[in-house]
Amino acid sequence: MGDMIKGNIAIAEAAVRAGVQLYAGYPITPSTEIMEYLSGRLPELGRSFIQAESEVSSINMVMGASACGFRSLTASSGPGISLKQECISCISDEELACVVINVVRYGNGLGTLYSSQCDYFRETRGGGNGDYRCIVLSPESIQEAVDLMAPAFDLAEKYRIVTIFMTEGALGQMMEPCDMPDFIEPKRHSWALNGTYSNKKIGIFDRDSMKEAEALNKKHELIKANEQRWESGQVEDADYVFVAFGLPGRSVKGAVKELREEGHKVGFIRPITTWPFPEKAFAEVNPNVKGFISVEANATGQLVDDVALTAKKVINERNVPVWCLPCVYGVPTLKFTKEGFGRIINGELKEVY
């Protein structure tokens, strides 16, 4: 077991080890330690750190560095991530690769400083204008987060897509023992702009959107086929299957263990990629399952939609009910999940779908 380390610091150091050449950002709680750490660390290694005047500017700096073929990164939370959406859409459109860390905090507008998962829809649907997706990684622990950092860049580069690294305020702020990954020295991408016009481009008014749409769909299909990641347990004989990601996902595993000990046939699916959504995990579920239950840290229930859609696809001969236990913010306790489960099996909680 490695040393105790704070989530945001561990993630920042993992990004350094994954070969990040440029970080640009603007402070916002609870993501700020990432940029504070990198402000010292990157220059130490002869790499670039920029405190930008805004989130808008910082993501555009990332776009520039990424266009030149280097691993580049920004991080933010809440309204800061909203400001980046215009450029994330442009980066996606240009098929560049970069990683955006969202240390999710709760709330609309300015929001709050509570840990949350309320940005699920925005991140998994491609939050800017247009018609694109980002690969979204949602770790449950500091160890998983650092282990996912190099893959976050690998995936972005493999598919020339934006990877959203969606963590939660609490994960950024907590401390856990963690083994750090090794340093890697990534190569500059072959498709980079390098000043010699080695990769031909066409003007925006000469584009064939029909052809591009076909290529985009193909890319999305490929990602869905090859990149789903999840953890699941005890779903084969389960009457009820919990679905939760990130810290709630971790907490739900504890609840499942206790409920099993109490004689309830329950299992869990913990998406690690929240896009592509791990549909394959559902194929292993007991065909006679009585229901799915999403547990999520938001007010209105978001993940529950994907659970219901996937349930419909996998168990299509009958309408399996899908419940939602939204804890609004923070991390749901075992008690919260178990009490919610009790209300569901007693018929006290109406299903969402």
């Binding site: 670039s48 500017s57 555009n60 776009m63 702009l193 000043g195 016009y197 003007g203 925006i204």
Partner: protein, 249 residues
Amino acid sequence: MAKERIVPVMSDNPMSFCPGCGHGIVIRLITECLEELNQLDNIIFPIGVGCSSLLGGGLVADRIHCPHGRAASVATGMKRVTPETTIVAYQGDGDAYNIGISETLNAAYRNENITVVTINNSNFGMTGGQMSWTSMPKQKTTTSPKGRDCELTGQPFRFPEMVADQFNIAYSARGSVTSPKNVNKLKRYIKNGIQAQLNGEGYSVIEALSPCPTNWGLNALKAMERVEEELVPFYPLGVFKEREENKNA
């Protein structure tokens, strides 16, 4: 005898600017300067949104179309990871000074080692001639149909002077495309801007006053006259921040 002017291959393509537009002249000057400075194989253009976008169709060079107004930030990211590559941001006045004023100003504030060329045609050309922060008092545009009311909309402002005065930048100048003499001067300004970047002196900005006959409702000749008669008195031509090496020359 008139000398034949050979346009660098990089910009020798049709780019569908309107007849009498200044954009084409400025991009040709930039590529001529790059050629003279041996940078034709070492240049990336972050391009703004506006009629600048038309460069995308014809410029034979590494380029990227930036979100509206953000080219100076994109340029910053490029320059930080590849300091050996020449980066010239190419933007209209709406792009650089309206929606993008924050990014444009902050690149100057940091004295980022990039070159920014802005085409000031006193309106939003691409979208059909709306008012810009650089529109003149009383100028009729599609969003100031009775003439720009500066009491309500603010005054036009002079970006190159502003950053020359306030920030520790390398070079700032304004030229125009209205006569062979002015074109030659503008070329000198652009070359100085790029040279400053090559030497690592820091931020350079060159604004080019440029006609937009289509949206001004004037023919090409009359549009050139308007630049001279209405714009130049408010937007003086010249160098506002001189490079150290020129000071001693």
